[in-house]
Structure formats: structure tokens, C-alpha cells
């Protein structure tokens, strides 16, 4: 079943996936155990003439065992999950590139800060649904929304975060493999929700520079813009 996971191309994705696998193995084992015991009991203790049922109200030792053992397993899972969560969401590391992603029925507005690396200046670049990022760099994404709640979902990077109107939420990721990946919306946002699709282009360092050169205003132009202001 876990073979269906989309290929992972982010740094922390591996840690998420290994937790996913771990829980999968544990739950599968518990499930099989319970089913085997149940089916065995159903077979062994099916009604037979002249064999009365055992008159028993339970067993306190067993109660303690099957309270404590699951509790221990769950505590371990909680701690392991907490550590990973803290690293992914609890703290945002120093990032190299920043970009704003704003959901708007039914598109992703992608806003690049431009050469001055500041938002809200004239050299900002806005694109629809196309997010270019360099490979092996930490990317800071500032999520927002112009209307309703959307959810920024990068299946291959194990990223998902709701985008809310009226507040900015910061998340980060680092892609480890160049290529084009889909961006999806994971939170119902209206009739066009199913089609709120974008693309994430993970570019090699050179490709990213080429893309910047073609699309971002050159530093000279920026200087002009400054003067014109």
C-alpha cells in the first residue's frame, strides 16, 4: 500500500515517510493480531452441543496489560512525531529564497520579491500558478488568501498548509530533485476547487538563474524604478 506514495523530493519528506511507514507496520501488525485471534476464537469456540461457555467476568491482569502496552507504543509514537513536527513546523530555519503564495478562487498568485528581495516594492514579480524555486535551497513560503480558505499542497514535497484570509502563515521546504511537480489545493474553496492547480518548478542553480534573468527586472531597471519613485 505504501508503494503508492508519490516520490518524495524534499529534505524533511523522508522523515515524514519513515514515520508513516513505522505506523503502517505497527498498525498492520496489531490489525493482523486482532483478526487472527478473533477468527481463531470464532472457529474454536463456535457452538458445540454439550460444551458450555466459560463463566468469567474478566481478568484484571489482562486489563492492565492491554492498557499499558498500547499506551507505551502510543507514547513512543507521540514523542517521535513531536520531534519531527518541531523540526518541520516548530521552527523555521534560515531560508535562502522567499516567495508569497496567495490563494484566490481559483488560482495561486505567486509573488516573487524581485532583485531587492523585499515584498511590496515595484520590482515584485507576480505570476499565476507557476512557482519557480532553486534546488537544494531553503525556501520560505508566506501563505495568504484573498477570499476563502485554500490549502497549499505539494504532494511530492510532503507540504500542506491552509492559506487563510487575513493572516500570513510562514512555512518552508527544501527540494532535492529538479523537475516539475504539481501544486494542488487541498481545502474546499468553491466550485473550482478541483481545478486549482499550479506547478512547482524545481530548477538547477543555472536554470534558476536563467529564469530569473528572463523574468525578473534587471538590477539597472530596478534602479530606474527607484529614481522614478
Amino acid at each position: 500500500m505504501m508503494g503508492w506514495l508519490p516520490e518524495n523530493v524534499s529534505t524533511f519528506g523522508e522523515r515524514i515517510d519513515s514515520l508513516f511507514y513505522l505506523i503502517y507496520y505497527i498498525t498492520t501488525a496489531v490489525f493482523l493480531l486482532v483478526m487472527v485471534v478473533m477468527v481463531a476464537f470464532l472457529f474454536l469456540y463456535r457452538r458445540r452441543e454439550g460444551r458450555p461457555a466459560l463463566y468469567s467476568h474478566g481478568n484484571n491482569t489482562l486489563e492492565v496489560i492491554w492498557t499499558v502496552v498500547p499506551a507505551i507504543i502510543l507514547v513512543i509514537l507521540t514523542i517521535m512525531s513531536g520531534v519531527v513536527w518541531q523540526d518541520i513546523r516548530g521552527v523555521i530555519p534560515e531560508t535562502d529564497v522567499q516567495v508569497k503564495v496567495i490563494g484566490k478562487q481559483f488560482n495561486w498568485r505567486i509573488i516573487y520579491p524581485g532583485p531587492d528581495n523585499e515584498f511590496g516594492t515595484k520590482d515584485d514579480l507576480e505570476k499565476e500558478n507557476d512557482l519557480h524555486v532553486p534546488i537544494n535551497k531553503k525556501i520560505l513560503v508566506l501563505l495568504g488568501s484573498d477570499d476563502v480558505i485554500h490549502s497549499f499542497f505539494l504532494p511530492h514535497l510532503r507540504v500542506k498548509q491552509d492559506a487563510l484570509p487575513g493572516r500570513e502563515i510562514a512555512i518552508w521546504f527544501e527540494a532535492t530533485k529538479a523537475g516539475t511537480y504539481e501544486i494542488a489545493c487541498a481545502e474546499l474553496c468553491g466550485f473550482g476547487h478541483y481545478n486549482m492547480r499550479g506547478h512547482l518548478f524545481v530548477d538547477s542553480a543555472e536554470d534558476y538563474q536563467d529564469w530569473q534573468r528572463e523574468n525578473w527586472p534587471a538590477a539597472a531597471e530596478v534602479a530606474d524604478m527607484r529614481e522614478a519613485r
Binding site: 486482532v34 470464532l42 469456540y45 492491554w66 498500547p70 500542506k160 498548509q161 493572516r167 481545502e187 481545478n195
Partner: protein
Amino acid sequence: MSRSAVVHHLAGEPHSRPGFMRTYLFSTDHKMIGKQFLWLGLLMMIPGGLAAMMMRWQLAWPGTRVPFTGGIPEPFMYDGHMGPEFYNSLFTMHGTIMIFFVAMPILVGAFGNFLIPLMIGARDMAFPVLNMLSFWVGLLSGLLMIAGFFVPGGHAAAGWTSYVPLSAAAHFTGVDWGQNLWCISLIFLGISSLMGSINYITTIINMRAVGMTLFRMPLVIWSLFITAILLLLALPVLTSALGMLLFDRMAGTSFFLPEGGGEPILWQHLFWFFGHPEVYVMILPGMGIASEILSTFSRKPIFGYKAMAFSMCSIAFLGFVVWGHHMFQSGMNPVLGMSFMVSTMVIAVPSAIKTFNWLGTLYRGSIHFTTPMLGALAFVSMFVVGGLSGIFMASLPVDIFIHDTYFIVAHIHYVLFGGSMFGIFAGIYFWFPKMFGRMMNETLGKIHMVVTFIAFNFTFFPMHILGVGGHMRRIYDPTVYEFLADLQPINVFITISAICLGVAQILFVINFFWSLAAGRRAERNPWRSNTLEWSAPTPPPHGNFETLPNVYRGPYEYSVPGAPEDYLPQDRRLDPKPAPTG
């Protein structure tokens, strides 16, 4: 009126036989009200189920003509082709109807009303008129919900969770009165449930038969008692949230709209503060039903009665502090997410305890494979899957990936169909003789249970795979995405299984109506069970018991060594030895 006069009246004097209206419509008899809720729930299964079938068709073969829908006019269907707006209404109404108008009315309304007085040895509920009102307000609420399909702009389309701001202003969805009616209907439903729960709690506290101590109550009564407390505490929160939403929509307030200073996340907190206890409202009665049936047909006392009761209490308590696990990716503070993960992992423990105690009940029993028993076994095994899949989502990092995917849809259905619905089927097969005085057909019932079990797993298990593949929920057309292309054959497989699952329910309908008209007449205690309802005549008359029973022991005294039979009803007096206590 003195107490004895009440009893006399309730026992039913021959001269005052109520007329048709008082017997079938405006009845204050808990059994009739229970049946009314049952009819309401069974009837609402039809629109809820049809909506599911239409959605499944669209998901397997997007954009093709949906069979048998040519009669649905524009702008819902375009000559049999579904638009995305209508798809959104369909899943919204599917969820809303199944949760509020199928699972709740049957589990709480029908079983609660029918069973509580009979099983605690009372003649009726504490507040019979309030009880009647509870049904009629519930019915009104159902009618308002159905009316939403016929207003301009179509029915609510923001999901059963109706997240704001999507649901808070008409221009986001194009839905106007549909969403208003959705709010109003659920406000009425809240009032109906509130009346019911006050009634249940009072009845269980005050009207137990002599000797029916709390720890001699059947577990299904425990479960309904706890459910009523959950409803009493959680529903008013939903009702207030709905009121605020309605004000935002109609009176220009902005509780939830950020441009007016409102807070979208507030809705999610309020909704899930209600919503998580609500999911336990839908599973606890099923757990109670399964416990009754497993013990009866294993001919064995329930394993760990007190552990069962206490684990339900702890589920109820913890159920109020885990709501944030629905909001891990909502923008809530990550540290808060951590604490909700801890409480959610903790709440899995009592679920595990219950499962192991059910297995303990089967151990060295003398297992009779009747139809209700098949239903209860299906309940236990499917609940295990649903509980285990909950652990994936409780793990914060894993939930990043599976939140809002079909993994969640799989989980919901393992607990709500695999759990609640199998509980409902098991309960109907078990108590039908007492309710209607006739037996249901066992062969047909067994075929129905087996086919449903198989088709259910074929339908819902593969949804885990879709979720692992990243397939988002609530999308109208999965073929838009390249990364989902490989999963499309699974969608087709699911749809075919779902159609089989839907069609299999015809077996139940046939069995139900055929047995109602021509089933074998039921004796007083056809399953040789211990609890008090089986001591009452079949079907129980107005006032339930010939003489009010005295209770001498716990509810699960099966196969007691030295007893004349393999069961020992709660109200049977053993002379001269004092009765063993349970």
C-alpha cells in the same frame, strides 16, 4: 397525580385507548417515538445513499452521463451531466444527511427511546411530551434540510463542516438560501437533540427499577447515557456557532469574516469542539449495541464490564480535549498542535481496551452465528481498522500529508459505516422482534450482512490507497491532476464496489418490510437474553411491563454454573439462595 395514579394511568386503562392520531402520530409512548425516529433515519438513508452513488459515478467516469438522472433539471444536472457546483452540494448533503439524519436519529433517537425505559425497567421516559416534541422538531429539521434542494442557488455546498468564509457569504459559492436553510435546520436539530438528551439523562438517573444499580445497567444504557451527556454539552456550542454564521450571512455581522475583523479559525474551533464529541455520539451507542449482542450470542458474561464502562467514560471526557486534531494544518499554533496530538493519542487507549475486552468476551464462549452476531462482529473488526487509521492522522507529521485526502474519507467510513452502520444493522436485527413482534428472516439477514461486509471493504479499503497516493477529498474531477492518473483505475473499482454495496441494501429493505408483514411471530425472549426488555411482553404494551421488574443481578449472567439454563435474566429471582451478584 399520586405516583400510583401515574402508574395506573400508564399501565393503560381499557376505556381510554388512544385514537389513531395519538397512537401513531402524536404519541408520547417512548416505543412509538423510537419507531418514528427509526423511520425518519431509514427514509433519509435514501437521499443520503443516492447522493453517494451519483458522486461515485462522477469520480470514476468524470463528465460522463450519470444514469437515471435525466429528470434532474438544470442548473443541477445538464441532461444527465453533473456540474461542479452540484457535486459540491452532493457531498455536503451526503455528509450532513448521513450524520445528522441517519446515524443520530437511529442510534440516539430510535435505540435511545426504545431501549432506555425497557432496559432500566421503567414504564416510559421521564418527560413523555418533551420526548414527542423532540421527534417533531427533529422531523421539521429534516424537512427544512430537504427543502434546501429546491431553493434557487441550490443546496449548501461548503461541506458538512461548512468552513467559513466559504459558507459565510453567498458570493463565494453562489449558494444563498441553501446554506441558510442548512443552518436553520441544524439549529432545530440541536434543539431536538437537547430535548432528547435531557430526557434520557433524567430518565436514567431517576427511573431505574428497584435493584438496577448503575453497575447493573446494560452497557448499551451506559453508552446512551454518556452519549446524552456529550450531546448536552457539545450541541449548544454548534448551535451558537450556527447562529453566528447565520448572522454573518443575513444580518451583516462579521464574526467569521476577516475583512470585518472576524476570525475564520474561530468557526473551526467551535465546530470541532462540537464535532469531535459528535463522532463519539455516533460510535458509543454502536459499542453498546455490540457489547449486548456479543455477550448474548457468546453465552458468556461480557469481559471486563467495569473496564468497558470506565473506558466509555474516559472517551467521553477526553473527547472534549482533542478537537484540535482536525485543525493540525489550519494555521493553528504548531505548539498547540503538539498538545492536541498528545490528547488524541491518549484517546486511542480506551478504544484499544474496548476492542480487547470484546475479544475476551468471545474467548471460550459458545458462539451462535445469528444475524445480529454477524453485525456485531463486523462492527468490532471494522472499528479496529478505523481506530488504527486514526493513529496515522494523530501523528502530526504524517497528517501533513494525509490531511484532506481520501485517507480521511477511508477513516470516516470505517468508523461511521463500519462502526455506526453495522451497529445499526446489528441492533435492528437484534431488537426487531421486540419492536415489531415478529422475527426477521435469518437467511436473508445473513446474506445481507455478508454481502455488505465484503462490498463495504471493497469500497472503502482502497480509499486508503488513494489517500496514500495524495488524492484530495472533495474534488469533482480527479483526472485534472497528473500525479493522480495512476490512481484512476482504483476510483473505478471503488465505484463498482459502491454500487454493489448500495444494491445490497435492497436485501435489507425486503427483509424489513416482508418481516413486518409476514415474519414469524416473536416470543417474549427469542434470543434467550438477560436484559429487562426481554421480560416485557412482545411487543411491549403501553406501560411496558405487566408488573415493574425487580433487578437481582447484572445484565450478563450467561452460563452461570448450576443455573437451570445458560442464561439468567436480571429480574429472575432465585430462591432460596441469595442471587449471585454480577
